[in-house]
């Protein structure tokens, strides 16, 4: 078993692409996600007909982080038209005769949302009684989407890259005939899968440490809990990914087929990993999450990073993940019977 683990490690190190995929790719994508979901300093542009809007409203708007531009009464009438022709303007603000506010936005987007929230702030300044205060049980208002969803990516990456590498290595092992040769030595069936898992666990641990340190210390991902506890579900996820990869390799005839199976193996798990709140999913489809390993890992990581949980709160999810890995281990050991009955 140790022999096999050592071989997996040496083999992976000798294949530069595998090393890059495990150690560098997650950091690269995480950085990209950081810029995509992170706070942007976007300043929205709002157009108003300066002649039709009361002076205090204009002043209040100009005091916010907004670009205020003027437009003619006629342009204001055809707000939709105006927005289509002026792509740098996000919103047109008008007041009807009853002085009700009428806002036209180009499309439902984060730019529009920024414009909206700044307009609301301006209105609150004018009329302090209309001010609303929002507070959160977990997190704060100025947290970015990256802060609230970052944990999902930690879970996805711990699973995905190890899964791809190990599934491909095992498919190669089948198609090249090395697995048959291996099974003609006195090695036990259980040792084959255990050795593989052990070998990749080494990379999983290194990967988890690098990702977590990078996310928390370089990208400043907010973390309420203990970093050590974050590592545990990440490594467990990677260990499960090796077994998952081994199981998928039974159904894949070539390395290309591993990639072709991704829509069935990985993509559904992404949706159930926390990107979409599970109780919003109709027809109780949210319960499908219980058959998805990434769900358990993501839930545990979320508990630690967002709610500040410790082991007592997350052990259920860790147990779920461990059970998953054990069941797959047994399936894989049985599947090797195809090569050798004993």
């Amino acid at each position: 078993m140790i022999q096999l683990a050592k071989r997996v490690i040496r083999q992976t190190i000798n294949d530069k692409r595998s090393v890059m995929l495990i150690l560098v790719a997650p950091l690269l994508i995480l950085t990209l996600v950081y810029f995509l979901l992170g706070d942007s300093d976007y300043v929205a542009t709002v157009a108003i007909d300066r002649d039709a809007v009361a002076a205090p409203v204009i002043t209040a708007l100009e005091q916010q982080e907004l670009n205020v531009v003027g437009l003619t009464a006629q342009e204001a009438e055809q707000a939709a038209d105006y927005l289509q022709h002026n792509e740098d303007v996000d919103a047109v603000l008008r007041f009807s005769e009853t002085s009700a506010m009428d806002i036209t936005l180009y499309e439902p987007s984060t730019k529009g949302a920024t414009a909206m929230s700044e307009i609301q702030k301006a209105m609150a300044d004018l009329n302090p009684s209309a001010e609303t205060t929002i507070s959160y049980v977990y997190g704060t208002q100025d947290q970015s989407l990256f802060d609230s969803l970052g944990y999902v990516f930690l879970a996805l990456f711990s699973f995905f890259f190890v899964f791809i590498i190990s599934a491909m290595a095992l498919v190669r092992e089948r198609s090249r005939g090395t697995l048959e040769r291996l099974m003609m030595t006195p090695i036990r069936r259980g040792e084959v899968i255990a050795g593989y898992t052990l070998g990749y666990s080494v990379f999983a641990i290194i990967q988890a440490v690098i990702i977590v340190l990078y996310a928390i210390f370089v990208l400043q991902l907010s973390n309420e809990g203990n970093i050590g506890w974050v590592l545990l579900p990440m490594v467990l996820l990677a260990v499960t990914a090796v077994s998952f990869g081994a199981t998928i390799s039974i159904f894949a005839g070539s390395e290309l087929q591993v990639v072709q199976l991704i829509p069935f193996t990985i993509i559904p798990q992404v949706f159930f990993s926390g990107l979409i709140p599970l109780d919003l999913i109709p027809y109780h489809l949210g319960n499908l999450s219980y058959i998805m390993p990434i769900y358990y890992g993501a839930a545990a990581i979320k508990g630690i990073m967002v709610y500040g949980d410790g082991f007592t709160e997350i052990w259920g999810h860790l147990a779920g993940l461990t059970t998953y890995a054990l069941v797959l281990y047994l399936i894989n050991t049985q599947a090797l019977k195809k090569f050798r009955k004993l």
Binding site: Q3, L4, K6, R7, R10, Q11, T12, N14, D15, R176, G177, T178, E180, R181, L182, M183, M184, T185, P186, I187, F339, R340, K341, L342
Partner: protein, 240 residues
């Protein structure tokens, strides 16, 4: 330890690939499985070593019925395809496969050196296998098969794609392994190689058409060429 096959049958789906094969390979002999491509040589070897279960019939190594894990220690197998780890060096491959057998580390290291010399790869031992030529891969694969000094050695087309000079050297090695008491089962579709062997088992379309000492097989032919026996088989099969 004799190898006895008795009424072994194997089909893949509807196609019957091994049709009721029975014969006994005596310990210490070189037995050649001879037959055209697709005649079932690889399948028969995989049945013998227990990589495939037979549909019916039995395979015994001495008194032990296969498959059996204890036998695997005494068995060497060189598959038809290379079955090597391309991302490891020659030394890395040998070290890995050797490590799966109960061999003390120091003995193993010495033995790795020895087999690398035998197959003339000493100078390339640190090179990654993916940079090897076809012939070098074959030789490394052979080195792995003989590394743990097996009592019974199964070789599936070991000399395919190897140049004549090296082919002769490899056969000389098989003879010296035989002299040390190893039983060798070797498959080939090159009819000339049969003269190196003690016994010849002729496979045609999954049927064992002849099994005898090589001398007696050659006596049965008019021209002294073993192909004749296959021509006869193909004619008798063509007749209704």
């Amino acid at each position: 330890m004799d190898i006895q096959l008795s009424h072994v049958k194997k089909s893949f789906g509807d196609t019957s690939v091994i049709k009721d094969v029975s014969f006994t390979i005596a310990a210490g002999e070189i037995c050649c499985l001879l037959g055209p491509s697709g005649s079932g040589k690889t399948t028969l070897i995989r049945l013998m070593i227990g990589a495939l279960p037979p549909d019916s019939g039995t395979i015994r190594f001495g008194d032990i019925e296969m498959p059996n894990r204890a036998i695997l220690k005494r068995l060497g197998f060189m598959p038809q395809n290379d079955a090597l780890y391309e991302d490891l060096s020659a030394h890395g491959n040998l070290k890995f496969f050797g490590g799966l057998y109960p061999i003390p580390k120091r003995t193993l290291d010495a033995r790795i050196k020895e087999v690398l010399e035998m197959v003339e790869l000493t100078g390339h031992s640190q090179k990654l296998v993916k940079n090897f030529s076809g012939g070098m891969k074959k030789r490394l694969s052979l080195a792995i098969a003989i590394l743990h000094k097996p009592d019974i050695l199964f070789l599936d087309e070991p000399t395919a794609g190897i140049d004549p000079v090296l082919r002769r050297k490899i056969w000389a090695q098989f003879q010296s392994l035989k002299a040390q008491g190893t039983t060798i089962i070797v498959s080939t579709h090159v009819m000339d190689e049969v003269v190196e062997c003690d016994k010849g088992a002729l496979l045609y379309n999954g049927r064992l058409i002849e099994y005898d000492t090589v001398n007696r097989l050659l006596d049965k032919t008019a021209s002294g060429r073993i192909e004749e026996l296959f021509f006869a088989a193909s004619e008798s099969e063509a007749r209704p």
